[in-house]
Amino acid sequence: MDQIKVLEKAYKNDGAYLLSVCRRYVRDADAAQDMFQDGFVSAYLNFDKFHDRGPGSLKAWLSRIMANTCLMYLRKKDPVRNAEEIHSVSFKATSDEALAGGMSRVKDEDLYNMILDLPEKERTVLNLFVFEGYSHREIAAAMGISEGTSAMRLYRAKARLAEMIEKYERE
């Protein structure tokens, strides 16, 4: 029962954050609610694998579980995950400094929605790289793609974000 209490506390304190993690991967709000619940079930079933390393460790662990649950959902939803994308869209080269500057000028909510507007595969790689701290090798293993594809998707996600920010600033 201790596990239930610990998870209940995490639900009350970090529930909204964990749901937003699911939402970043699964854009559909209802599907994200499902993933959130499945994530908590998965956490309960695998609670023996959690090692408490101080404040924030449970939140980080639950966040990873939510991300993995969403990844499994996305993989089931789209089993053809190894197909390489056709490079039909060209992007304007944007420096990381310019991107960082643009991001700092955008509201949190708008930046969040820009992430949701990214194509699913690019959004997934961006989420894993930025928010979960995965390396390209880990992303490749998690998504069943090559490291090169992971890097390419991240590059394209950044380029799309830069375009969105540019458009946002123009408006």
């Binding site: 239930i4 209940e8 639900y11 969040y112």
Partner: protein, 436 residues
């Protein structure tokens, strides 16, 4: 290093700004979440217990089959009688007579009694004008057997019979002496017995015995009137399957929003409380038919392959939608003949079979839709099947095989009876044609 810092900058900004924005709150209360967690834990425990149960069942089936085969081999061994088969162009009586005489004359007391009876019958058969050449030769067998196994003294007169020569050779008599004796006895014959007796200079008792045993005839191990089993042959079988638990089998499932079946019947109620629609499946008894090809490696061991078609129907309530799937499977297995009783053969086999869905249709309201035949994964199964065959003659037999099959779980497989009940018992009935 600089590039890493720059990358960290933009990603850090993104993490801080977007990561701190939480637009929605969870809809489900924690109490309902707790209910779901407990149900999932119970389902997981049941699944683990099921896996343990399946392992136990599989082990029990394998052990039972092994015990059955072992018992069959121990209880009904081939009655192998060492035989010296004499092939000769000479008239039967000329070959058989000296053999019988020498057998009666040379063996001592107990050995002589046993051998004498056989020798007499051998001589009697040889005297018959319709007796075959093989018959008297086979009847000489116990003589040589008795001598070989009892270690009787070498023949006093090696020139009297081939059986005596065999004994002489096996008792380390000089090879040249045996050859001389055989040459005297069969000056114009090219006989396996002579070859066995004389042999090469290095031949010994063991090699002679193995040669003798190699000439066994399976017909001797069977009751009179039984069908002779022929080795190294192909046989073709055509069979149909009768489901042991025919009729309808039921299960209730809850379907999540993405159409995935999320829980089982036993623990489904708790899941269903979350609003997932509950459906009720009915599985019709599968219909199956196929062809098989069997090849005998040895008298006992055989390999079998076959093509089997299986038709699986599932309906769902309340919509009443049907799903019909036709699988084609290629089986590959090995088997062992355990025993023969008259015209009956008892055998046991084990097989593995991948099956691919070759045709299918599903109603539009069927909960788990199939986007295409190609998306349906291969269904793997394995099983054991003791069987009994009645032979009408050397070419035709009918058989029945109670089969216990296990269908390996695949979450992506369509909802079928085999997904619901991985262990399934059926009875295969068929006809088998033996090819010469």
């Amino acid at each position: 290093m600089k590039e890493n810092n720059i990358q960290k900058d933009w990603s850090e900004i993104l993490r801080e700004k977007a990561g701190s924005y939480n637009p929605d709150a969870p809809k489900a209360s924690f109490s309902s979440l707790q209910e779901k967690m407990l149900a999932a834990a119970a389902a997981q425990a049941a699944k683990r217990a099921g896996v343990r149960r399946n392992i136990f069942r599989g082990t029990a089936v394998a052990a039972s089959l092994a015990a059955l085969i072992t018992a069959g081999v121990l209880m009904f061994p081939d009655r192998k009688v060492p035989a010296v088969e004499i092939v000769s162009d000479q008239p039967v009586a000329e070959v058989a007579a000296p053999v019988a005489e020498s057998a009666a004359a040379q063996v001592s007391n107990a050995v002589a009694e046993a051998a004498g009876a056989v020798a007499e019958s051998g001589a009697a058969q040889a005297a018959s004008p319709v007796a075959s050449a093989a018959a008297p030769a086979k009847k000489t067998v116990p003589v040589s057997d008795a001598r070989l196994s009892s270690g009787a003294a070498p023949a006093a007169s090696p020139a009297t019979s081939p059986a005596a020569s065999v004994a002489a050779a096996s008792d380390s008599a000089p090879a040249s002496h045996s050859e001389t004796a055989l040459a005297q006895e069969f000056p114009q014959q090219d006989s396996p017995a002579r070859d066995a007796a004389a042999g090469s200079p290095s031949s010994n008792t063991g090699s002679v015995q193995s040669d003798l045993f190699a000439s066994l005839d399976e017909t001797d191990a069977r009751p009179a009137g039984s069908i002779r089993r022929q080795l190294r042959k192909f046989s073709i079988g055509a069979s149909g399957m009768i489901a042991a638990n025919s009729g309808k089998s039921n299960a209730t499932r809850a379907i999540s929003q993405n159409g995935i079946v999320i829980t089982s019947d036993r623990y489904g109620k708790k899941y269903c409380s979350f609003g997932a629609p509950e459906v009720h499946y009915q599985y019709y008894a599968p219909v199956s038919a196929g062809l098989s090809l069997r090849y005998d490696f040895t008298d006992r061991l055989y390999a079998e392959t076959g093509l089997r078609f299986t038709y699986l129907t599932t309906s769902v309530t309340p919509s009443g939608a049907h799903q019909d799937l036709l699988y084609a499977g290629i089986s590959l297995g090995i088997g062992c003949r355990i025993a023969g009783f008259g015209n009956f053969d008892l055998y046991g086999s084990a097989y593995g079979m991948p099956s691919k869905c070759v045709w299918g249709r599903a109603g539009t309201s069927f909960p788990v839709n199939i986007s295409g035949i190609r998306d349906i994964p291969i269904m793997w199964s394995a099983g054991v099947a003791p069987g009994i065959q009645y032979n009408f003659g050397p070419l035709l037999g009918i058989y029945a095989e109670p089969t216990l099959s296990y269908y390996f779980k695949n979450d992506n497989a369509p909802q079928t009876l085999y997904k619901e009940k991985p262990f399934y018992f059926t009875l295969n009935i068929g006809v088998r044609f033996n090819l010469q």
